[in-house]
Each structure stands twice: as C-alpha cells, then as structure tokens.
C-alpha cells in the first residue's frame, strides 16, 4: 500500500517562448548616466545584430510563475529520500547557502589584490587542511570543478611524476565495477585502459593484479569502498604490488561517505585521490551541478599540483605561480570557491566527531536496509557492506520485471529511484545508498515500499512494468528522443 504520498494538482506551463509576446518586460535598467553610444558607429554596422530572433519576452510575474511551476515537477531531497547508490544524496544544510551569499565572499573578483582577498584565501587554506586531515594525505588542490575533473587532474599528476622518473608508462588498470568516468578520464590523459575482472566476491582480485602490473602500468584506479559498497580489504596489499613495480594507486573518492573518521586513504597506500564535495560534504547537487572535485596527494606528487598553489608568507596567504614541475592549470582561476564555502560550513558544523558520527549513521542505514530487504531481493555478493548495498533483480526477472521497472514503480510510492543497472558486474543491479540524513521513519517507509513492490511483481507484473502512474508525466519515450533528436524549441 502506498502510504507516503497522494496525488495533488500540478499546474501546466508552456515554454517561455510560447508565452512570450513583444513588449512584455521583467527588467528595468537605471537611466544611463553617460552619453549613449551608437553601436553601429562604435563597433561597425556589420558587427551589430538586428535582434535576437526568437528570444522570449515575458513579464516578471509570468517569469516567477513559470519557474515555480517547473520546480514543482521535480523530485528533490527536500521532499524525501534519494536512495541513489554512489551519488550520496544527503541533506543540503541551508546555512551553507546563506554563508555562500555573504557579499564579501560572493562578490570577490578572482583578480582583486591578494591583500584584499585574504578572507577567500583563509577559507581555501582551511578547506585544504581539513581535507588533508580527513583523507590522511599531504597536500590538496581545490582547483578541479567536479569529480571527473579531479580524476583527470589526478591521472595527469601520476603521469607527470612517472615522466620525471623517466617513463610515463602506457596503461591504467581499472576494475570492471568502476564508474564510467574512470576509463574516460584515463583515455583523455593519454593512457590505454585495461579492465580487471572482479573476483567471485566482487572484490579487487589481487591475484589478477599481481599478473597485470607490468612495467607498462602507470596506476590502478580503484573506488573504495567499491561500487558494491564493500571495503576492498586487500587494498594495502594492492598498494604494495603497485609500488613495488613503480606504479601508483589512484582512489576514486566517490564513496568517501563510508570512510570519513573511520579510515583514511592516505593510511592504506593511496597516492592520489579526489573527493566529491557535492556528495560527501553536502553541497547541493542542483539538478546536476555545480560540484567540486578537490584532489589530495602524497608528498611525492605535490610538486606537480596545478598552478597556482596557495602558500603562506608570514601572516598572509598568497598565490604561488612559479612552480616549474606543475601540470599547469586545469581550469581558470582557483576552483569552485562558492562550493568550497558550503563544504567548509558543513565541516565546521559537524566537527571531527560529528563527521565520524555521520559516517556511522550512513553505514548503519545501509546495513539496516540490507537486513530488511534481503528476504525479498537477491543479494549477489554477501560480503559485509558499508554505506550502500547492491541487490539484483534476479527474482523479479522471473516475472518479466526488470530493475528499471521496479525503480519507476518506486516513484509511485513517493521515492526517487535507486541507481539502476550499475555496477555492471551485477545483473540487473539495484544500488541503494540511503546516506546518514534519513530518519528511521523515512527508511521504514522506503523498506515497506520495496517489499510492497516485490509483492506486486508476483501478483501483477504488467502493472509494475507500466509504472509510474502518480506522476504528471508518465513513462517517457527515451528511444524516440535519441532517434529523432529535438534539442531546441522552434516556432511551429
């Protein structure tokens, strides 16, 4: 039975272009206090456009209603739980939003004098120090804009170190359970990708690693805990194998929410890793960004970090641009500063103990869900899990219902779907990560919903396959969207 939600009216809304009409306006500029300039004269008539064909013209009231109506068509953390595995959709504290908008921070220009940017630099130094302590690494760059960007930075650092040692090598090893960004990143950094098959328990196969780490291998990219939510218990051994043969260990920190305060990558052999501040450190996902992907490294990699580096000179902080071994810049300016402010607010709110308590609750929530759902769904890998748990749709498939169908039905119960069909080593995966910020009530409702759906699969599989029913938009035809792409509005 569906207990968490009931239908309510939702407003229809046309596209901006369809409700536009000439002469409507939502803006007013101040009276120009200098003489007007003739654009054609100043810029050359050939450089000046006649108009912006098709651009909307709406009033202020219509603009706010437009976006408010659109907003109500979204699910969001503020509505309820997002059990998306590997995405760490936790509560986004509102204090973070408030402090990120303080004028002296939000309106700081990246080229204003360093003497007048000390507040920004202090914030960044504090974030660097906190992340170094949390990860057990020696140095941190805050420049990368998101996780995949951090990965690229990390692999370029590895390449730079190996080049300095005389040979950048050719390959990156990546487990078959990895996020797609890992192999895509390796390719952009100029490396070939070799996949490592996971062991029967879904873990990193150290025996296979022993065979695969040749003089051609630059690094292993590993997610820990892996995408099954299982800690790679051979990680120290893996690091030793790599290091013995001059290769490095890269850790994808997407699942760091399972480790903060419990274990530190720097203590188990990781040479370089990235963090996703929009996952572990609560900065809002915003419908797909912005993120921030700081990279933490051991001492040996520090000389190669992107320019500029923050450095202390006396009581002041300054940017150091003269770093001859640096891989260069990975983006303009210094990183997604506004996201760093939010992450620091989160770290300050929790403190060291609070961060550890958050990890404990995150793991407890996932273990609790596993315990309650295990009787109803196939659990392909029985190793103890940390912050997430992965089931397969094996039992439901017997009734012709796949993980994607179960996920869509979950929407009717008032929840966002879990992560569907990932990791690829699980046939028909249901990847569930509750995070620490779900109440017991919300978890119990989720569990009830999942059990109820498992029952529906047996009694009425076709009904489940056509879900969702309660949304204003029913199952969306993604095949036609890709076959006949319509990527912009055009007048009829």
């Amino acid at each position: 039975m569906i207990t968490k939600v009931r239908p309510h009216l939702s407003q229809n809304e046309a596209l901006l272009f369809e409700r536009s009409s000439p002469g409507k306006k939502a803006y007013q500029l101040p009276e120009l206090d200098v003489p007007a300039v003739d654009a054609a004269e100043a810029l050359g008539a050939e450089n000046v456009r006649v108009s912006i064909e098709g651009f909307p013209e709406v009033s202020e009231v219509e603009a706010i209603r437009h976006f408010t109506r659109l907003s109500t068509w979204n699910y969001a953390i503020d509505y309820g739980m997002y059990p998306l595995g590997s995405c760490t959709m936790k509560y986004n504290p509102r204090i973070n939003e408030l402090v990120a908008r303080i004028e002296g921070l939000a309106w700081a220009h990246p080229y204003q004098p360093e003497a007048l940017s000390q507040g920004c630099l202090q914030v960044m130094a504090r974030v660097e120090a906190a992340l170094a302590e949390i990860t057990g690494m020696d140095a941190v760059t805050l420049q990368p804009a998101a996780g995949a960007h951090g990965e690229l930075t990390g692999i370029l650092l590895i390449r730079a170190l190996l080049e300095k040692r005389g040979n950048p090598r050719k390959k990156i090893l990546i487990p078959d359970s990895a996020h797609g960004t890992n192999p895509a990143t390796a390719a952009i950094a100029g490396y070939a990708v070799e996949n490592i098959k996971s062991s029967d328990t879904g873990a990193l196969d150290v025996g296979a690693l022993e065979q695969l780490v040749t003089g051609d291998v630059a690094a292993l990219m590993v997610t820990n805990p892996n995408t099954l939510g299982v800690f790679e218990h051979n990680i120290i051994q893996a690091a030793e194998i790599l290091h013995r043969r001059g290769a490095l260990l890269y850790m994808d920190g997407a699942n760091m929410n399972a480790l903060v305060g419990i274990a530190r990558p720097g203590d188990f052999g990781v040479d370089v890793m990235h963090l996703n501040l929009h996952k572990t450190f609560s900065t809002p996902h915003g419908g797909g960004g912005p993120g921030s992907g700081p990279v933490a490294v051991k001492k040996a990699l520090e000389p190669f970090l992107p320019t500029p580096r923050l450095r202390r000179s006396g009581k002041k902080l300054a940017w150091d641009y003269k770093r001859k071994h640096s891989i260069g810049r990975v983006r303009a300016f210094y990183g997604n500063f506004g996201v760093l402010v939010r992450a620091l607010a989160y770290i300050l709110a929790h403190g060291g103990d609070g961060l550890r308590n958050a990890t404990v609750d995150a793991v407890m929530n996932a273990v609790y869900i596993r315990k309650k759902l295990e009787p109803h769904f196939d659990l392909p890998y029985p190793s103890p899990n940390l912050h997430e748990v992965v089931f397969s749709d094996k039992r439901q498939e017997a009734h012709g219902v796949r993980t994607g169908d179960l996920a869509k039905r979950l929407i009717d119960y008032g929840f966002h779907p879990y992560t569907v069909s990932f990791p690829m080593i699980v046939h028909g995966a249901l990847m569930i990560e509750p995070t620490e910020t779900e109440s017991k009530l919300e978890l119990d409702q989720f569990i009830e919903a999942m059990i109820s759906i498992a029952g529906e699969v047996e009694s009425d599989p076709q009904m489940v396959k056509n879900a969702p029913y309660g949304t204003r938009t029913s199952r969306v035809d993604e095949v036609t969207a890709a076959r006949k792409p319509v990527l912009r509005w055009k007048p009829q």
Binding site: K24, Y27, V34, L105, T480, R488
Partner: protein, 448 residues
C-alpha cells in the same frame, strides 16, 4: 548533531534489528591496519550562529565597498532578484541529475529552454546543457574538432584569455594534440590574419579565436573562419563576456562556440562556480561533450523532455566517450536561464548598449586613448604613462577603487598597459575618479 535525524533509542532499535550490539561492530570487518584509531584532528562542531560569524569575519578580510574596474573573464553585472528566488527553491537546489525523467521535468524543461536560448544567442543549431566553465569548454571544443576532422593540431590566438590557453595546454599535452599560438596586430589588438594564414597547415583541426577578445576587441571571427575553412579546419569561437551577445552579430561562420556565462547573473565568487557552454552546428552533434536534453512524449502522448544522445557519454561509452565530464553546472545554468528570461529580447540588448556606453565613456575620459584601435565592447586596454600599472592601482585603492588588470604578466610587450572594464554597474562618478587619477602624470603627485 543537528543534521542526523535519529534519536539514540532509534539507533539502538536499528542496530538490534541488524544483530549488532554496538555501532562500532558495523566496521568490525575492516582490516585493523586501515582503521583510524583516533579522532579526526578537527575542531568540535559549532552552531549556526558561529558559522555565520566565521564567514562574516572572513568576508570582512576581503575587499568591501570598493568600486571595481576588473573584467578579464569575470564581470560585475547586476543580478536580478528573481535569479536567487528561483535557484533557492529546494526543488531545483536539492534535486539530482535528471536521469529519471518522470520526476525531473522541471530541471529538464529549464535546460531545454537554456539550450534554445543559447542557440538563439550564438546562431548555432544546438547547445549543450553546460560545461564546468569557459576555460574547460575550450579544450573540450578543441577535442571535438579533432574528432570531427580527424586531424590533430590546434591554433589558438594569443588574444584568447591567457588562463583558458593554459588549460588548453594542460589538456592537450597528452593527447598528441600540438597547440600553437598566433598573434595579434600590435596596432588594432585584433587577430593577425597574416600570421594565422602563415601558420595554417593541412593537419590543423581547429582555429580558436575569442570575441570580444581578451583585450575587449570585437574580433574578426568571419575572416578567421574563412582561413580555417580553406585549410579544412574548424573555427572555434570563444566568448567570456556573454552580455556582448545581446548586441553582437552571432558568428554564424563558426563551427563551435565555447563560452562562459558568468555574466548572466552568476556572482564572481572568487572565480567559481560558473557555467560554460558548447554550441555547434547540427552535423557535429554526435561529437559534442556533455549532457543534452531532448524533446519527446510520455506514454500518454504529452510533451516531455529527457536526457538524450547519452551514447556519447562516459557512463555508457566509458573510455570511448566524447569526454569524461559527468557532473556539470546545472544550477548555474538555471541562473543564466532565469537571467535571460528576465532581460529577454530587448532587455539584453539594452543592457549590452549600456555596457558599451559606459566603457566608451571611461575610455573617452582617459588620456592617453586606448592602446588598441580595434572596436571594443566593455573592456579596453590603456597605456599608463610615467609609472607602472601597479602604482596606478595603488593610487586608485586609496580612493576605494580597484583598478584594471596589469597585463605585463601575461603579455610582456604590454607591461605598461592595463585592461579596464566598465559595466552597467560602473557609475559616472567612479569613472571620473579613475580618469582623474590616471591623468596625474607623476607618481609622487599621486602619493601627495
């Protein structure tokens, strides 16, 4: 802790249900050697009030109450109130990437509008759902050109933002993608077409030109495109000042447009988060990086939107993807979308005209006249006579004015020059102050 929504008795119940006697047992399976057996060396958690206080104190250590004439890729434009009102809604702020189309139509519809408006502004057929920023959009555009042409070399104008060029070099280094630069004409500040022509060869995949360029000059994109096309290369047009699109003829001759939307209601925020964009012609769609939203229908036949053409992307294609990008800048793109809706067709032009008028007023008040003769939008380079740009900026700081960007660091030949920007936010009074400080010929008089 206030973000953890459970009582101790609920925790007890949950652990009991799982058969654990304590929370520590949840981690008992971790190898002893990996465990951190001490508390994190971080300060204890603090209250909301203390957090606000901490950041207010940091903000007070920054520039406050200064008029600024910095541009150079980050512009000081007014931010309509509606922008923050919309992006503060939890439904936008706290939602995930819209993979589940049925419960993400709000974000998807807004992105579709964003893509459409970017096409209208740039004259391209298709625009993606955003890149990290303008600087990373440039190497992504270059890689796109490499895939589309099957060639490997990239020619970039020296008048493209220096930091964008640095990012391009970082990305290019390991991809067998040689990057070379071509110059600008010393008198006009516009790209040197002869130098470009000289450096073109049959292996060149892309010619990258910025307009308005780093010096603020509306550059010769059309002429550059003709040269690029004659040699079988693509023309990538870069922009950092999106407001200029309200006034400038779109570069229909460009094959790819890679730009930065910070000017569209995105606060400077010490350099980020911003939102980049890649737009292109229809025939290059499948070479595009990043997410795309497409129109389709739901099973009841109603219009609906979803993420599409994802077979280009890393989560499907892995090492063969067009890019490794995953998370983009959706919420920032939404800010730009609201901004474009508020200003609309006439407002964006009016805004651009005000920028043009302000910058030309400031330039007109200054002596000497701008260093370059090319047409400029809202930034221009000026030569400082008799003292260094740094000294001039010191004098301006005393008047609570942050001056222009000294150019010597990136352009040694322009070490006596600085880049000034004026926007609709620049008051006549502040501009007159700048002009009067600049007019003082000798440094000792400034200090007096």
């Amino acid at each position: 802790m206030r973000y953890l929504p459970k009582s101790d008795s609920e925790r007890r119940q949950m652990l009991d249900a799982c058969g654990f006697s304590s929370a520590e047992e949840l981690f008992a399976h971790l190898p002893e050697a990996v465990r951190l057996n001490r508390p994190l060396a971080l300060d204890p958690g603090i209250s909301e009030y203390e957090i606000v206080d901490y950041f207010k104190r940091r903000a007070a250590e920054n520039a406050n109450g200064y008029a600024s004439f910095l541009g150079a890729g980050v512009y000081n434009h007014y931010r309509p109130v509606l922008v923050d009102t919309v992006v503060s809604r939890g439904e936008f702020l706290t939602s995930y990437t819209p993979y589940q189309a049925e419960i993400s139509q709000g974000t998807l519809t807004a992105i579709f509008e964003f893509q459409t408006m970017l096409c209208q502004l740039t004259g391209m057929d298709v625009a993606n759902a955003s890149m990290y920023d303008g600087s990373t959009a440039v190497p992504e555009a270059a890689m796109m050109a490499v895939r589309a042409t099957g060639k490997g070399r990239v020619l970039v104008a020296r008048s493209v933002h220096p930091e964008y060029r640095e990012v391009l070099r970082t990305y290019a280094r390991n991809q067998g993608m040689p990057v070379e630069e071509f110059g600008y004409v010393a008198e006009t500040g516009s790209i040197d077409l002869e130098d470009l022509e000289r450096r073109m060869d049959p292996l060149t995949a892309a010619v990258i030109v910025q307009s308005p360029n780093f010096f603020g000059i509306v550059d010769q994109v059309k002429a550059a495109a003709r040269i690029a096309h004659r040699h079988g290369a693509l023309l990538v047009m870069v922009f950092t000042e999106a407001v200029s699109l309200g006034l400038l003829e779109p570069a229909a001759e460009a094959d790819i447009v890679a730009g930065e939307l910070q000017s569209f209601a995105i606060s400077p925020c010490y350099g980020g988060p911003f939102a980049g964009i890649i737009a292109t012609k229809e025939r290059f769609i499948r070479q595009m990086p990043g997410r795309l939203v497409g129109q389709t229908t739901d099973s009841r036949g109603n219009r609906a939107f979803c993420l599409t053409l994802s077979t280009r992307e890393q989560h499907i294609r892995r090492e063969k993807a067009t890019s490794n990008i995953c998370t983009n800048q959706a919420l920032i793109a939404l800010m730009a979308t609201v901004f474009m809706s508020v200003y609309g067709k006439r407002g964006l032009r009016e805004l651009a005209e005000q920028n043009l008028a302000k910058a030309h007023y400031l330039a007109g008040r200054m002596k000497p006249q701008p260093r370059f003769t090319g047409p400029f939008f809202n930034e221009f380079v000026t030569r400082v006579d008799g003292r260094s740009p740094e000294d001039l900026n010191k004098a301006l700081l005393k008047k609570k004015i942050i001056g222009g960007l000294p150019l010597g660091g990136h352009y040694p030949e322009l070490k006596d020059c600085m880049l000034f920007c004026a926007t609709e936010m620049s008051t006549r009074e502040a501009m007159d102050s700048v002009a009067s400080v600049l007019a003082v010929a000798k440094p000792q008089e400034v200090q007096a």
